[in-house]
Each structure stands twice: as C-alpha cells, then as structure tokens.
Point group: C3
Chain length 349, copies 3
C-alpha cells in the first residue's frame, strides 16, 4: 500500500464530517520577523510591543493574517491538494489573539457539496476552525474550492449549498480582550485618521508597489506549511510557472494598505474574498481600497471600518477614467485585478 | 603579513591534530522559523512544542539537520575552504537535542590523510564534534574532503586511512532523554504508519517537488555561517554558476520525505552520504526513499528505520522502468541523482 | 482630502524642527536570525551569547548595523521619500546596546537647509536619534539628502549648513557598559590580531564575495521598514531596475570584512559614508579595508581602529596596479566602487 498521501478527491467528502488536520504548529517571534521581511507591514500594533501594551494588550500578538495563513495551511493537504480552484471565502472571524508560543491546530467541517455539471469536479464548502493549545478557537472561516473527482463515474452526492452570510454583522465582530483605543497615539501610528474621518464610498490609492520574487512567495508559503504543489514546482503546471499562493497577495494588499489606512490596526473579519486572476513572480502589485461601511464597536475608543482592498497588477491597460475602478461596464473585473477582499478592520474612533 | 585567512591546504594537516573552529553560534527560535521558511519541513515533533512535550521532551528542539548545518558550518574555514570535493560522511550520530538558546562550537580531529597520486591534492579525514555551552557533545560525524596542496613539491605524509563503520549499529543510536512514543498521536503527526508498517526494501515516492532559487540556498548557507565561496560568488567558478551547499539538498530531501515518512520524527544518525552531482538554482528537486532496515530501540514505543533518501533533479532522462532506481546496469548512479543519503530515523513502533 | 502620505518636500522643512517618526518597532531574536541569513556576518560577539558574556555583556545584543537600519528606516517616510539622493552620513555614534525585546523609535531634528541653484531641489541635513522604550538614546547620526521641491516657485529658505565633524574623536566613542576584552578568546573569535597588530595605512583584501539577489535586499529593506519605493518597485525608476538600499551594501561590506577584521567586534561610530554608485541585484560585491587610525580606549583591554571599508562591484575594469585603490589619478572614485565607509570599531588591544 502506498505510504504517500494522495489528498482527497470530491467523492471523499461527506457533509457533516469533521476533519482534524495534521501537524500542529507553534508560532514564535521568528515568524513575526519573517512576516515583516516578506511583507511591507507597518501597522504599529503588530510592530511594537509597547504600542500594543498602550492599547490594552499584553504585548504584540502574531499578525492576524499570519495566524490566518498558519490555520489555512493546515487545511491544504486535506481540502485543496487536488483543488482546481480556490473559489471564495466567507464568514472569517478572528476570535482570539495568537501569541508567540501558542500552538495552532485546525479542524474543518464539511458544510456543503455540489457536483458540477461536467461530472468531473465538484464544489466542497468547509468551515475551518483554528485552535490554540488550550483548545480555544482563535478564528473560523468558510471557504469553498473546486475539487477533482478521482473517478468520474462516482455517483453525485446530494447537493447541499450552505447559507453563508454576505457579510459579517458588526455586532458579531470579536474585539481582543482589553483593547482600548482611548489613549491611541496617532503620531506613533503614522496617520491622524479616525474611523469617522473616512467616508463611505471613499477610495484610497495606497501608492506603494512591490515587485514579487519567487524566493519570497515560496518562503512565505512554506512558513505556513502550505503544501500545494503549484506554488513550489515548475513542473506541476502546464505553463511551467509557479502560481503564487493567494494568501500571499492578501498579505501584500493588506500591508500596502498601510499608506492611507495606517490606523486600521486589526483585521476582525473577512466578509468575502476572490482571487480574481493568478499572480506570478515578476508581477508588480499595487493596492487601493474602498470604504464600504463604518460603525462603532462596544469597546473603548474602538470603531470598525468595512473595507474592500483591491490588489492590482501594474502595467495592465486601464480604462481612460483610470483610477481605482474594480469592474468594467460589463460588470466583469477589469484586467489586472488580482484580489478583491472585503473585510472589517478595527480602528480608533 | 596578510590578515586574511587563506584556509588550510593539504600539507597543513597532521593526523591526531585537534582543530578548535572559531565563531561560536547561539541558536534561537529565529533559526527555527527560517528553517521552516527555507525547507518544506512538517515533522510534528519539530513543528509543535506541544507535540514534543507529548513525546516526553521539554519542548521542540532545533531541528536535527539545522543543528548539523551549524556544527558543519563551523568547520568550513579550517577544513573545506580549499576543498576540491566533499567526498563523504560516515558515523554521524546525534547525541543530545539542541535547544533554542544553546551556543554551539565545533572541534575536528584529523583522523586520516592520503595524498593522491597526482601529487596535487590529498584526502583529509576528520571527525568533527559539536558541543553546547556546557561542553556536552551534541553530535559527532566523520567527513572526508579532497584538499589542494599549496606546494605540489611538499612531501607526502604517511598514509592513514581510518577504519569507518559502513553503518551505525542500532544499539549505538542515542535516543533523546525522556523520548516516549507510547502516547504518539498519529492523526496529528499526519500519517498512520509505524515502523512495523514499513517493509525492508520498500520504496516510497515522496511526490512533492521544489524548484530552488538562488536567494533561498544562499540565505540557508549563510545562516549556517558556511563560508565556502562557491555557494555565494558567481566569479568563484569557471562556469559562472553558484554551487548549492550539499547540506541544502540534504535538508530538502529530508523535508520532502515527510510525505510517506511523516512519523520518521528524529534523525538519529547518518551512515553515509554522497553528493552525487552538483545542484544549481533553477533545478526542481524530488525525493524518494528506500527502507533499508528496521529495529526496536530501548525507549518506550520507539523504533528505528534505516532509510536511504535519494534527491533527484527533475527533467532528467530516465530508463524505461523509471521509478525509484538509484543506479544503472553499469552500477553507476543514474543521471539526475543528486544525493544518496543513508540514515537512521526514530519513529513510533 | 487624500489619506495617503505624500512625504515631505524641500519647502516643508524648517531648521530647528523636530520630527517624531512613526511606527515604533520591537526587535527580537527573529531579527537577529534574519540578519545572519541575509549577511555573511560572523563576528563572535553578535554570533554567540556566551562570547558576549565573556566580554562583559549580559548577552549578545542586536547587531549594531541592524539597529542602525531600524532607526534609519523610521526616518524614510519623513526625510527621504522624495529624496533624489542620499548624500552622506556623519557623526554616527552608537550609544547603548539594543537588546532583543527593545522597542525603538526615532526622532530627527532638521539642522540644515540649502536650496540648490537649480531651484528645483535642496539639501536637508538632519540629526536622527534612536531611542529605546525607556527613552534612552541608543544612537544618533547626521545625514543629508537632496529633496525635491513640491513647488519650484516656493521661496528659498535661509541657507544653514551645519558644522559637522570630519570624524568622531576617539574620546567621544561610547563603549557598552561592562565591556572587557582582557579575557578575549582570539581562537574563538577567529583571528589572532589585536589593534596593535594593524598598521595605519595597512590595506586588507577581505577576499570573499557575494552575488546579490533581489529577494535578499528586499527582505532586508522591508525588515527595517524602509519604505522608499525605488527598492521594491520596478516601475518606480526609468531604468526599470530596483535600486538596492545603500544600507544593504554597508552591511554586506561590514560582514565581508570579517575575513581580516574578525576582532573588529563593535561598530562604535561612523565618521562618513558615501554611496558612490548604485548597486543592483546580480552585482557581485567584494570589500577591502584601510586602517586609518588606532587608539586605546578607556575600557579594559579595549582599543579602537578607525577603518575605511570599500565595497566594490566585481567585473569592473581596474587600473594596472589594481589592488585596493579607491580613487584614480584624477581624484575620482574608480569605476566599481560602490561604498566608501569611514568608521570606528572596538577591538581587543
């Protein structure tokens, strides 16, 4: 019998099944340093233990998206190793800070299945939960992927499409215990803007750009123990190119958003995310954001902004009116759009 | 007088001489994070402090091969700076875990010398020992290298060829104090296989592949403070290419072996290792393993597998029968074989 | 109103103004590991906690130039984002060790302004001070940059050119509290040379070379949270090439200087520094040094060497006499010279 894990195929999933993913992972200050070397992140709460303490936390936790990537990475061997496409995210909520020294594990519940009309693939919906060494949930999120069938003759399962929220209600956002922005130091944080300074509908050009290298995205993706072959192996795809892990683009977009959203300190939830087009080494990435909503939060001095951050590949032809447009007249994403991420951030209000 | 160290030449070695290598090195969680970013390692004992504790250790040590590279790196300025070739390893035994915070130093005893018939080079055998800050030996290994003579007219030394064991006896393997696999969690570790599930002669295709980048192997090799010019300097070799440190390929092969050998948690010894062919950035590496032996070990729940792991460069023409073959009919390594590593691992039995 | 910070232009500076730079930064052992992966540094005091303790320190601090890069990086958004050129450094003094766990902030005082005759740019002199979480100054340095005017019609400020010392007096160098080289272990450090073994005027070829990769200099520059676009974005410059952060070349030159200056453990001050020519990925860098001065220091066993380290790009045509020459007969830097750094190091005497 083969000792090698082939990964699961569409017919291997059952709605209601809970999959305990392998290889727990202890996170450390080493991961924080690497996150900083790999992404141009400058949010003060993650950069400085002192700033975090001034905001009521014990020290600076592991950056929220770094924790997300670790929890996500655990799911790959069981969920997306044979995936054709990562179709979307929903209902991602950050529930507890992850501290250096914490050990993370992930479980996923299969919450939906739908065979495609081709009969060769199907969509699998899962809700994944990351837990620390005390068994406390630190985050949960839904994602759905298109997975190959091992045997095209296998019977289609009963179709179950989960009812996922289009966005997380602000009242369902979890604020880290103790967070207090009443003494927030805007000068140290880098920008003077409070939640109330952002208008709904406002668009922000984050200006900065990064040209991506192969070594960088592979180091990041390995750090998260994400094992999907396409990220590492030029022989894995017909085009002979490595496909960059979508989460790498998420972290780049978020980091670039500092310039204009410097006070958007904490990602509290992800409402939706689409990897609109593939990203490759050599691409130069910029980002812009649109403010979708803003609200107060039941924590001292804390508000929430709902933001869409769009990562764009430079050098792509754009319409005349140019700036910060997501879709063309036909309703389709414009050429060059790589990522459309709709999420909630906590900021001083 | 020149202040720059030229490195030693063949006539500078004396059998019995002990060389204390310079630059002690403290290892930290930062090194662990980088090891994870540079190699796709997922063995649970090194990934999780909690998993290590459940196996009877105080926490997760520095990964064994990372410790090996640090100890090895110390020897380069004195042993292999003027080496033409790194000919082999033998009798490598891991004696104590290396913990974050430990400071490592290395000494090498010259145990053999043999001038080559050309009169231009000779073979130097050394036994190197890594020690922690308490002077305890954490590992020892023999290696032999071909070194240039400074002066081809220098007289040949008396030939001394050490008597090195073809393999380490299982009873000579050292098990970390407290190691106990009786409560081993196979689900968390990622695979269900115990030592007894592997047949002697069984071959395992580890499936995953990694395409190597220059930045990665240089960062790794610098991390180990290995100063050999050929790894960093395109002007150092006639072909204008950087040669990848053989240990980088060892760590890649070992990390890739997770898929099929996930429970081979600890490298306890290296019986033999050959860098069969040079490796360069751009190469795509796969690995397969052959189980050479298996045995019980005098520690609760612990067994040992003797494994040969072979790292192979993708895209190389192979014989028709293809799979997992080391040598051709002529007894020579097949094209594409980069590494042939024969080692002992500890796994649950 | 735009939320994005455009950076300051020449007319935005006033002599005497103190700018508090944003985004405090906690440094950790993760940064130390990355510094080691990115530069071939081997100085024993930074490599080993045990060696540092034997020299009277509590443990090994963050490498001095790593601390410099962090403090420098803070200044970029306010000082050099719209800079045309980084013209020079002076009076850089390292005042206190930076320990893992320390949180650094930077302030800069504008000490000089001079509009250029073109009326399009001007020179801004600042004295920047890095402080730890207790408000103690850990270093201070002057630098001057050429900055664009936003509005060429803006009136020129009164010209103030600060009176900067050509070099720091040895008596103004600050020795870390407790530093004691009387029990210095030369064998562990890697070379036998004391201060007194170096002659003034002596030139040392450091022999080793490094070919630079894009991923490496970008990871380093991001680690220091240096946001200058030209380092990351191929669309930011007309030549479509990323310009390597000058500090990357400083750290490479310093690390390469180990071979011949292994006992130059601590950078105590930088007298002057010029980035003579741009550096790009693919360049192969070597370094040589000239001993400019030597002196005793009021600390047990400690002396100081004033050294010029020159980083050179390989493959550049050189004059016949070749070796270790800084300038041609015309007094201009020779082709291939990238960095001319004049600094003080502490070494055993």
């Amino acid at each position: 019998m083969s000792k090698t894990r082939p990964g699961r195929f569409f017919e291997d999933y059952r709605v209601g099944e809970v999959i305990a993913h392998s290889v727990p992972r202890t996170v450390t200050d080493g991961d924080r340093a690497l996150y900083r070397a790999l992404y141009p992140t400058r949010f003060a709460l993650w950069s400085s233990d002192e700033f975090a303490r001034a905001c009521g936390l014990a020290r600076s936790p592991l950056e929220d998206l770094a924790a997300f990537h670790v929890v996500f990475g655990k799911t790959v061997p069981d969920i997306s190793l044979n995936a054709v496409a990562n179709l979307g995210y929903a209902e991602a909520r950050f529930l507890l800070p992850v501290w250096p020294g914490d050990t993370l594990t992930t479980t996923s519940e299969v919450i939906g299945l739908k065979e495609n009309s081709s009969g060769k693939t199907g969509v699998v919906w899962v809700r994944s939960t990351g837990r620390n060494q005390d068994g406390e949930a630190v985050m949960s999120f839904c994602r759905w992927v298109m997975v190959r069938k091992r045997d095209v003759g296998a019977p289609a399962p009963e179709t179950v499409v989960p009812d996922l929220a289009a966005s997380i209600g602000a009242k369902d956002l979890v604020v880290p215990a103790g967070l207090d922005f009443t003494g927030y130091d805007f000068a140290l944080a880098g920008e003077p803007w409070r939640c109330g300074d952002y208008e709904i509908g406002e668009r922000i050009d984050h200006v900065d750009r990064v040209t991506i290298e192969e070594a960088e995205h592979m180091m990041a993706t390995r750090l998260w123990q994400n094992t999907a072959k396409v990220h590492f192996d030029v022989t894995a795809r017909e085009d002979g190119r490595r496909l960059i892990y979508g989460g790498h683009v998420i972290s780049l977009g978020r980091a670039l958003s500092f310039n204009g959203l410097a006070n958007a300190q904490i990602v509290a939830g992800i409402n939706a995310g689409s990897h609109v087009a593939p990203c490759h080494a050599g691409d130069t990435i910029s980002a812009w954001s649109e403010v979708l909503d803003r609200t107060k939060i039941d924590a001292p001095g804390v508000g929430a902004l709902r933001v869409r951050t769009v990562a764009v590949k430079a050098g792509t032809e754009k319409p005349e009116d140019g700036a910060l447009t997501l879709r063309g007249d036909d309703g389709k994403y414009l050429p060059g759009v790589l990522l459309d991420l709709d999420y909630w951030v906590l900021a001083p209000c």
